[in-house]
Amino acid sequence: MPKFITLAEAVEMIPDGASIMVSGFMGCGNPHKIIDALSKSGKGNFKLICNDGAQPGGPMGEDYYGVAKLIHNRQVKHMVATHVGLNPEVGKQMNEGAMRVDLIPQGSFAEMIRAGGAGLGGVLTPTGVGTIVEDYKDYVHSVQEIDGRKYLLMKPIRADFALISGHIVDTAGNIWYKGATRNFALPMATAADIVIVEADRVVEAGEIEPENVVTSGIFVDYIVDGGKVSG
């Protein structure tokens, strides 16, 4: 069974230099309270594995939305993403040499994380064939021809931590996601040594219909109850 922890405990758990997967797409599905706390922690040198750098401004007028906070506070030394165009600070810090940015096709990125969590040796995808992605030695094991078609064998991705966001989380750790927030949370919850979910709302085990559980609680190590967070 997962343990309930405070935001402070979640932050304390994450050391400088950790590799951190964060769910979300342009901020939608980021675990905002954990990220906010982490952005104020003074910790850094993180490897951030996240689809994107979110956005400088949030939809509710937030300054620095989601993971953009970590980037703005220069806590990220290495970013693995698929698209960083909506957060100009990423390109700026990269050009300054302050941040390494590796860009991977989005479908491959999702599937590589899934492979990391599912014990698969890699992902054979036609995506990226004939492009500079072929040269990404850290991510591409080889180019293979199978039955006359070329594929890139992309390596699995894992991390020390996965920080994800769930709308309803039961005490057994089962997660139900609202709207489009589930995006990368599903594979990420399987592919990190420690998985922390920020819950909009916590319910008793059994309150989510077993058929409607999206992420099984067995993947979750810690729950931050976002509805009653304490520092």
Binding site: M26, P59, Q106, P126, V129, G130, I132, A180, T181, L186
Partner: protein, 218 residues
Amino acid sequence: MDKDNIKSYIIARAAKEMRDGDIVNLGIGMPTMVPNFLPKDVKVIIQAENGLMRVIPCTEETCEPIYKVDAGATPVSVAPGGSYFDSCTSFGMIRGGHIDVTVLGALEVDEKGNLSNWIIPGKKLPGMGGAMDLVVGAKKVIVTMEHTQKGEPKILKNCRLPLTAVNCVDLIITEMGVMEVTPKGLVLTEINPEYSVEEVQAATEAVLIVSPGLKPMS
């Protein structure tokens, strides 16, 4: 035509490529306007690669930008019969050939159907996002863009920018005309009556094969 009129003209033509019931993924920017130009008897199902099916604009009541945005981070909702799914499922749909059409912009496209639309080295680093998967996986790939960039051709013999994918584009639609990518090269099938074939060719680096059935673009 001014900038806005050019966009509308291009997208109105792209909308005619849609068949009723098509499952469509629309790139950020101009392509998102496609639904506004669909004929009344054509309804398409819009997929957003961040995990939404049957995307529709949201209303004051249904907008929840914290929970529901499309791949361009625009707040949206889903129609009855819509659904949400994770990114692996989404790109399984895309890579697996379950998306009928994708419409997206380009920095460059060439006569072999190669596409460059994700990076200008040293200048612009947005990233490929889902574009590389979309152009490899979708059954039909339509590029919509202005024919030139500051007077320079964008339709080339060979793309010079890093590629998004090789030999992936099926159709190019610009304000000057409609070009099909064929094994023989680019075939100009429709032309904007405001331009002559010579003018279109002059604005194009690739050699255009003029279709014997060349029609006015509409």
